[in-house]
Symmetry: none
Subunit: 155 residues, 2 copies
């Protein structure tokens, strides 16, 4: 029994004529072990598909419910977009999900897709687009090294 559930790694899979893609085995293992489902929606910030566990969106919904901060209204708008767009994607016995035309179009994916782990979330990109995006991010990170404080709120 694992303790930690993170979407990681970058895996390239084929999208067949029917729009089917194998969900990476690691991702499937998480879904199974937590007996939950994958949810996907169009990313609001990039030309890619974003996915996460249903629980993750549930948490988001809870926070929005009792959000009292300044940005709550903005966030509320954003969640409208997310929840309006999101859908469950269950995988079949061979581990494949069927991405919708809408999602594929948004990400510009035709016959190949690359899954990029993001911890609690993951993204699905057109391979070429991801290559460019990764290079961009890497360059930016190298330029002004941001500090990630892992132990921020640790005691």
């Amino acid at each position: 029994m694992r303790k930690v559930f993170l979407f990681m790694d970058t895996v390239i899979n084929k999208v067949d004529a029917k729009g089917r893609v194998s969900l990476p085995a690691d991702y499937r293992a998480i879904v199974k072990e937590l007996s939950t489902e994958i949810v996907c929606y169009r990313s609001l910030s990039a030309p890619c598909i974003e996915g996460c566990l249903e629980e993750t969106l549930d948490k988001l919904a809870n926070v929005i419910e009792d959000a009292t901060d300044f940005f709550s209204e903005t966030q509320d708008n954003l969640t409208n977009l997310i929840f309006g767009d999101a859908r469950r994607f269950t995988f079949d016995s061979t581990g494949r999900i069927m991405l919708s035309e809408k999602l594929l179009k948004h990400a510009g994916i035709s016959d190949t897709a690359v899954f990029v782990g993001k911890g609690r979330k993951f993204q699905i990109w057109n391979p070429q687009n991801w290559a460019k995006e990764e290079a961009r991010i890497r360059a930016e990170v190298m330029k002004n090294r941001p500090v990630l404080k892992v132990n921020k709120d640790e005691k």
Copy 2:
């Protein structure tokens, strides 16, 4: 039952044709005792592989997860790099992990690898590269002794 979990020492192991390497026994002991897993990724700052416990990345994910940051772009970029690159590496019954081509290439490792303890993390180097790097670091430290500021609040 031990109290302290640190990756230490410098161990040289062989990498076989399939990319398999024995994880140092001490490292394995830590993983087993904490019933967790090892995660490896390309170092952002050096030509080497970096590894840590899955829990370490989980802490990072928790910080990011904070729902107010659900749509944030700043840390988002960085997690793409880290989580997109990282992967769990479970060792088999004989204690070996199988390093990916990507990681080996980044570190310039072919048939020999050296594990270097770094406390909460460790690194895997090409032996020659590590020899140079160690000499460099040692010289640097000798020249201008760094000051380690310890956070008083931490225990």
